[in-house]
Subunit: 231 residues, 2 copies
């Protein structure tokens, strides 16, 4: 039904013939063999985007962080990763053959500076401080590669969503950004979401809906902007 | 069939008439509204223990960290928590009416010293250091309460399993400890497990088996030790 709705309503905006790379889910950054730093991304928004892109005719590769979700119908290839570094490797390797990259993963900004090989003990006298190192920025690295896919980022924020998203759009050289406010039953770990889309010179509001419906609308907007930008 | 096997083989060791409190799963310690420190416990061992205790005739309360597992058959009450502090609250509140406490949860030893109300930004100039505070020790707190339930702890270790488990048994004043080695297809995130049980003056090896089978054998040993200790 999703496929029919898309094909019926937005015939000119489908992604037929395009190769779409989607990243989804959180990343987990190991502290030791047992502990890690994670984040609340469930992966559902990104998996819904991958499904919607496939339903719109794209050949979809999905790079997924640690989630417990089945591969969506129609997705051609799935690569499972755990850390931000492994997600970066998988995305960069697949980006050569992608027309569009939709970065819906919540990639950890930081990782522990050292990963302990043994489980850290409470009474080892270890200092109660965790030194962190900044993770590489996958979108920034992709934007610096030429040629590179049409780049769609996500921004999940608790405050100042619009200002932060527009800053991220221009600072990282993205073609589009999808921003959502986390909390109040929206965003991470929630069934519903609402998105504000920004691109250089334009914007569109996608009001509150299920992640599946939103993903279908997002994918249509991406298709239209892609064709407008690369005629 | 599990219930039959237990009733048939170990009639004298069943938990009929006893109230058993089980904790299971990881704890997640929030860094900010999005990020947290977690651990790899899937909760499956603890959930299997709760199911086996119910099958052996106990009235079971299960306190569960953030896991995506259905409540096992026969469990009378389930309390879902996220952090170590909330798990401690729930366990202490339920311990008054428990004859046996089986602490199978992987409770985080540390939490961030401060929880940020807003999502921390990469470019806020925040120092790349996370200050940690030590979490309270639920088993130690229970052992210091009189009267307290028969106390069964778990030790999941990557190295020196036996030495560490026996030290934990005496240091925390436990009645029994179940130790397992994490890694090589055992322990966290694995289907199989193997346990070494220690109590003051004795021990027993439970060789590699499914978590469900191991849980049934563990529960029988707990019942026998409980009746030996509190005749």
């Amino acid at each position: 039904e999703l496929r029919d709705a898309l094909a019926g309503s937005f015939g000119s905006a489908t992604l037929a013939g395009l190769r779409v790379l989607v990243s989804a889910g959180p990343t987990y950054e190991d502290i030791d063999p047992v502990r890690f730093i994670g984040n609340r991304s469930s992966g559902r928004m990104g998996f819904a985007v991958a499904e919607a892109a496939a339903a719109a005719g794209a050949q979809v590769t999905l790079v997924a962080g640690p989630v417990s979700l089945p591969t969506p119908a129609g997705v051609a290839r799935r690569v499972d990763v755990r850390s931000a570094a492994k997600m970066r490797e998988a995305v960069l390797a697949a980006s050569d053959t992608a027309d569009i990259y939709i970065g819906a993963a919540a990639v950890g900004d930081y990782r522990p500076a050292q990963v302990a090989e043994r489980k850290l003990k409470k009474h080892d006298g270890a200092p109660l401080v965790l030194d962190l190192a900044e993770n590489p920025d996958i979108l920034k690295d992709l934007a610096a590669t030429h040629p590179h896919p049409f780049l769609v980022g996500f921004a999940a924020e608790t405050h100042d969503v619009a200002a932060y998203a527009q800053d991220k759009l221009s600072r990282k050289g993205l073609d589009m950004i999808a921003a959502n406010r986390v909390g109040a039953g929206l965003g991470f770990e929630a069934d519903d979401n609402a998105l504000s889309l920004y691109w250089p010179g334009g914007s569109e509001e996608l009001p509150r809906a299920s992640k599946r419906e939103l993903a279908a609308r997002l994918v249509q907007c991406v298709g239209m902007r892609y064709r407008a930008a690369k005629p």
